[in-house]
């Protein structure tokens, strides 16, 4: 992995945290709980971007049968799953004081949980011990199919009954001033972190494949 990218990611993330903790305004009624939003939403965005890369690399593998695409897909799937797992943990931490309970069976939460479970299956499948090229082929297919859940997550708030929606649906333009800039910076910081992790993981997977003579 490129060391300068790693150091840059740390600097960006430290700046991001200083901004979030010390310089963002307190929102009435939610106070510190609202600041979880600066971690939760960028994690969700970066996680979905990772899964998009899994889908693209899956298509790349199907067309080329080049294991390099499988390594990109595997690395992106791992990071996407970690980020989605963190989304599923930080969401309930925010919801406990604000909704009064950590989890409700609401469309966006259910569809995100389904995405996480699909990828849990993806990793179980990668480890069942079938030969390398077969794992790559099946993983590519699952990566493409699993991505279909992401548009469902985004549109779930529209096609399920409004009375069971409890997700904040306020547009960013309606947020109090002083929130948009740190939020966009946090999006950038987590996207940058995601790519740093992706390059590190790809290097690890490449060396693992090399050790087993797949490269």
């Amino acid at each position: 992995m490129n060391l300068s990218l790693f150091i840059l990611s740390i600097i960006i993330m430290v700046c991001n945290l200083v901004w979030i903790i010390f310089l963002t305004p307190m929102v009435p009624d939610q106070e510190w709980a609202q600041k979880i939003f600066y971690l939760h939403v960028p994690l969700a965005w970066s996680g979905f971007l990772s899964y998009f890369l899994v889908m693209l690399s899956g298509l790349g593998y199907l067309f080329s049968r080049n294991l390099q695409y499988d390594r990109i897909g595997h690395a992106a799937a791992e990071i996407g799953t970690i980020f989605t797992g963190l989304v599923l943990l930080t969401g309930p931490i925010w919801a406990t004081p604000i909704w009064g309970k950590p989890w409700i069976w609401e469309p966006r939460l259910i569809t995100t949980l389904v995405l996480f479970v699909i990828y849990a299956g993806y990793f179980i499948l990668r480890n069942v011990g079938i030969y390398r090229q077969r794992v790559a082929l099946i993983s590519a297919i699952i990566g493409i199919i699993a991505f279909l859940d992401i548009p469902i997550i985004f549109t779930s708030v529209n096609f399920w009954a409004a009375e069971i929606q409890s997700h904040p649906q306020m547009g960013m333009s309606k947020q109090p001033s002083g929130i948009l800039s740190p939020f966009l910076f946090s999006l950038f910081a987590f996207t940058n972190l995601m790519f740093t992790m992706l390059f590190l993981k790809m290097k690890v997977l490449y060396l693992e494949d090399k050790e087993k003579n797949y490269v």
Binding site: M1, L17, M26, Q30, E31, W32, A33, K35, I36, L39, H40, L43, I82, G85, L86, L89, T90, I93, W94, T96, P97, L193, M197, L200, K201, K203, V204, L207, E208, K210, E211
Partner: protein
């Protein structure tokens, strides 16, 4: 007024502990390969 600071700290610790552990494990792997 209640400020919910412990909820933010909990979310913060969960996120950065998981990411830090991931980095430690993968850098260790990288060194061993």
């Amino acid at each position: 007024m209640y400020n919910y600071l412990e909820y933010f700290l909990a979310a913060f610790l969960v996120v950065f502990t998981v990411i830090l552990v991931w980095f430690v494990l993968n850098i260790k792997k990288l060194k061993n390969l």
